[in-house]
């Protein structure tokens, strides 16, 4: 029988032959990702940890990124407890405050590889499909259970195929592409499904793919994946991982998909997700001129070197509007260092940007750039839910780094094609 990517991975990891959608299988993932929530996770199972220990010290990847550096005594204590846990159980893969956002670390450090299975107690764990990994989010309790037992159940998903063709126009990016797709498919349109991207994907870099797979969960998807090609192999080579280190999984040509969508990339325009849902997507032109008070470039969606480069090109030699704050957050320390070496940080700071340490920052509203009632923020993040940035009476608009950068200069929402063409 011809199989989809998800079916093949779940067959491989469960050792079950008859894999069909809705079947429940038991799996042991290659890795389990947790972040600041590790403190709450281990608290649930203290007795069992003392009695039985953990399933494996190589499976967990722990990255402190959500509230870093600690904002309160409570978050500081959480971090301290996690460090003690890491030491006691000799956890191999621990990234303390300052390394970067967990999803960036998982890809950058080579944990996410083609054909692997990764689970994480964070909804954007679906990002690793950028390099051909099957990855999906779970909750804290399930992460606790996995730490102890090393296994869990997964339901075999139905799959959706998205065919991309041609190239994006200048001033239009991966972010605009995924916003356009989410606007069409809706916030629940891919619920429980695996999404596969096919077609002219060779034009999209790993950074582009990361932005796209990262937002799979915003349409309800279980996982989202670009099948491996020369771009993936080239990227993995560049981080020191040769082909002999992984086993690529491809979908079969005649696999069954419940839905198929075709997108001509050359027809996509700069897009923006308006309050308060990620599928409330419009062309930037439709709301151009709307005044904003905060601009944010960063997060696991758009905090990579290519994103910072685009922002620096637009902001070079210019000053941001005196009516806005521009917050920029590199997704990892390696990206930060690279941006320093390339002079990007200097350009951004000279334009008036505030640079935050690599982490989740203001994305989840815990600290570092919380909004006030009545304020509007244009952001490169992946969620614009009411209250997301700490205030229920503020508005969040989601767009590409180019749209955010040009909007910061003008003090109002602006189409980047105006300056880039």
């Amino acid at each position: 029988m011809e199989m989809t990517f998800a079916e093949k991975i779940l067959a491989k990891y469960s050792d079950e032959k008859n894999i069909v959608p809705n079947k429940i299988v038991n799996v042991t993932p290659d890795h389990l990702l947790t972040h600041d929530n590790t403190a709450a996770i281990i608290q649930k199972i203290q007795n069992e940890l003392d009695k039985y220990g953990i399933y494996s010290n190589k499976m967990p990847i722990i990255v402190l990124d959500h509230v870093i550096p600690a904002a309160t005594e409570k978050t500081a204590l959480n971090h301290k407890k996690i460090r003690e846990f890491v030491k006691e159980f000799k956890i191999k893969n621990f990234f303390d405050v300052g390394f970067g956002i967990c999803h960036q670390i998982v890809i950058e450090k080579g944990f996410a590889l083609p054909g692997k299975l990764i689970l994480g107690s964070d909804s954007h764990t679906c990002s690793y499909g950028a390099v051909g990994t099957f990855s999906t989010g779970i909750d804290r309790t399930e992460a606790a259970s996995l730490l102890l037992s090393g296994e869990t159940w997964l339901k075999v998903p139905n799959s959706i195929k998205i065919n991309l063709k041609n190239k994006l126009q200048k001033g239009v990016y991966a972010k605009d592409t995924i916003l356009k797709i989410i606007g069409d498919i809706s916030a629940s349109g891919a619920n429980y499904c695996s999404i596969e991207f096919h077609g002219d994907v060779n034009e999209l870099t790993i950074d582009d793919r990361f932005t796209i797979t990262n937002m799979g969960v915003e349409m309800g998807a279980k996982n989202s994946v670009f099948l491996v090609d020369d771009v993936t192999i080239g990227y993995l080579n560049s981080i020191g991982i040769s082909k002999s280190n992984y086993d690529i999984t491809y979908a079969d040509k005649q696999a069954l998909y419940i839905k198929e969508f075709d997108y001509d990339l050359s027809h996509i325009e700069p897009m923006i997700a308006c309050p308060h849902s990620v599928d409330n997507v419009k062309p930037v032109d439709e709301i151009e001129g709307l005044e904003i008070q905060q601009c944010f470039i960063g997060t696991c969606t758009n905090g990579r070197i290519s994103d910072l480069k685009i922002a620096a090109e637009i902001l070079n030699g210019k000053k941001i509007s005196k009516n806005v704050r521009l917050i920029i957050l590199p997704a990892s320390i390696d990206i930060y260092e690279n941006a320093l070496n390339l002079g990007i940080i200097k350009t951004l700071v000279k334009s008036g940007a505030i640079i935050l340490p690599p982490g989740c920052g203001p994305c989840l509203g815990a600290h570092q750039g919380v909004l006030a009632p009545g304020e509007k923020c244009i952001s490169t993040a992946n969620r614009n839910f009411k209250g997301r940035m700490g205030c229920k009476d503020a508005e969040i608009y989601l767009a590409s780094p180019a749209t955010v950068a040009i909007s910061a200069i003008k003090g109002k929402i602006t189409n980047p094609k105006e300056v880039l063409l």
């Binding site: 909804s123 909750d139 629940s188 279980k222 815990a366």
Partner: protein, 162 residues
């Protein structure tokens, strides 16, 4: 019993604001903030045995189990929705919070109807009309019957280490 009625795409920030995720983890800490940005009366007025009826994609957004822990702790008997987001769905199984996916029921419910819920038979009744909902697969009912995922795992570990 009160019925709390909400629409489509009730997300995890509406159910429990992200700003509290690293300051609240016990049920007592969570309950005052339940549905804070969606319905400020909820945490004050909710009672044991109440039901939530909602539209599509309930619980979409983050991996955030605080609302599940909180809704279970205040005694929500069930959440009936047209559909649920998957991480919320898994979290509810793991905490033993009852979720019922029944788009037909949600569409038929007028807002003033009295309803009866029979979890054992898998039936919800509006006036005289019955809506049945499918039983969960046995792998999942085993988790629920153990009293949640952690209990299930504890039993498994005990057996293994005997």
């Amino acid at each position: 019993m009160k019925i709390w009625r909400y629409g489509d795409n009730v997300n995890t920030d509406m159910l429990f604001p992200g700003k509290y995720t690293y300051s609240c983890s016990t049920a007592d800490e969570i309950i005052p903030h339940l549905l804070e940005d969606l319905d400020s009366s909820f945490s004050k007025d909710v009672k044991k045995g109440d039901i939530i009826i909602a539209g599509k994609n309930f619980g979409c957004g983050s991996s955030r189990e605080q609302p599940v822990i909180g809704l279970k702790a205040v005694g929500i008997k069930a959440i009936i929705a047209e559909s649920f987001a998957r991480i919320f769905y898994r979290a509810s199984i793991n905490q033993g919070l009852v979720l019922i996916e029944s788009p037909d029921f949600v569409k038929a419910f007028s807002g003033n109807d009295s309803i009866e819920l029979n979890l054992i038979k898998g039936i919800i009744k509006i006036n005289k009309k019955n809506f049945s909902f499918p039983k969960l697969p046995k792998e999942i009912t085993e988790i629920q019957n153990s009293g949640g995922l952690l209990e299930y795992t504890r039993i498994k570990l005990k057996k293994k280490n005997k």
